[in-house]
Amino acid sequence: MPVYLVYLLVGFGLPVAVAGWIARRRLWRYRRTVLWSLVFVAGLGGVWDWLACVTGVWRYDTAPTLGVWLGPLPVEEFLGFYTLGTLWIVTVVLWLLGRGNDV
């Protein structure tokens, strides 16, 4: 079982699905912000993740993965962590902005 993917789907996928549905109008309205956030996290976060892996700070091979690796990073990192993790953070911020009637 791809433990990391399951973890990401439960840890980020479920909250994103629920919060994303609630804030779907705001997510669509501010889609440029969402897209730029994804681009920045994949760019900056990708370099950070790669550097941390090659210098041995953290590693992803302690549990079964999907088996597709991009250098030291499993493909789940791109599919799940960068995408769902970023969407989770952006959704929470948009939801809080909406609660304050700021958006």
Binding site: T33, V41, R59, V90, D102
Partner: protein, 243 residues
């Protein structure tokens, strides 16, 4: 690189520069400061959530840390301090960006494209500014001397730090010369001769002089010993061949 502070070190390394970039600009800071409650709320909520689920990842083996590269300090005996800091800084950075970008998107403006466009235009102006060099006597002299120095540097096979010093000195002198040219051209457009404007021009020229003198001293420090060694070696060789 940072041993037990590696995780925290990387977090600071990748988060602090973009945070400074967002918060130092007065225009952005004004927007972010107005929404500080939203940002603080997002940081608190996301950090609490992240701290709750991160240790689970370690427990199920989704990833693991090298014990020699993390602080090892556990907050409330549950989550690593390194993870708490990661969540706090990452969510602060992303929340700041989202708040800022949303504010501009509401005005129909893409802040990222606007900033990239501004940078590209500024770079274009700067490159066009280099057209001043062939029109200025002193600037052409500085460029010619720089070519000479670079050729000497190649010839004498300088150390890495010496190359760095040479490039820095060349950049400083030519850069200041361009700034001096800009001041002179601006002063020429201010109308009849004015002692105050003359003093400003002299001060700009003085800045170039200080940089040029210091660069000449640096050049002597780097090249003179090598030049003397080369000359004495050649003299010795010609003396030997004469005998």
């Amino acid at each position: 690189m940072f041993d037990r502070a590696s995780y925290i070190g990387y977090t600071l390394l990748f988060c602090l520069p973009p945070i400074v970039l967002l918060w130092l600009r007065a225009e952005f800071c004004a927007v972010l400061a107005r929404r500080w409650r939203t940002i603080a709320g997002a940081v608190a909520l996301l950090t609490a959530y992240g701290c709750a689920i991160w240790p689970v990842a370690l427990r199920v083996g989704a990833w693991s840390y090298d014990p020699g590269k993390i602080s090892g300090v556990r907050v409330l005996g549950y989550v690593y301090l390194d993870d708490v800091l990661w969540w706090a800084l990452v969510s602060f950075l992303l929340a700041s960006f989202v708040v800022l970008s949303v504010e501009y998107e509401r005005r129909g403006e893409d802040i990222v494209l606007r900033e990239i466009g501004g940078l590209v235009r500024a770079f274009g102006h700067a490159v066009r500014g280099l057209r001043v060099v062939p029109r200025e006597r002193n600037a052409t002299i500085h460029v010619a001397v720089s070519v000479l120095v670079l050729l000497e540097a190649l010839l004498f096979e300088l150390e890495r730090w010496e190359w760095a010093a040479v490039w820095l000195a060349i950049g400083l002198v030519i850069g200041l010369e361009l700034a001096n040219s800009a001041v002179e051209r601006l002063a020429a457009r201010t109308g009849p001769p004015d002692p105050a404007v003359g003093l400003i021009k002299d001060a700009a020229a003085g800045a170039v002089l200080v940089a040029a003198v210091c660069t000449a001293l640096l050049g002597l420090l780097i090249f003179l010993p090598r030049l003397l060694r080369a000359v004495s070696a050649t003299a010795a060789a010609s003396l030997l061949s004469a005998r």
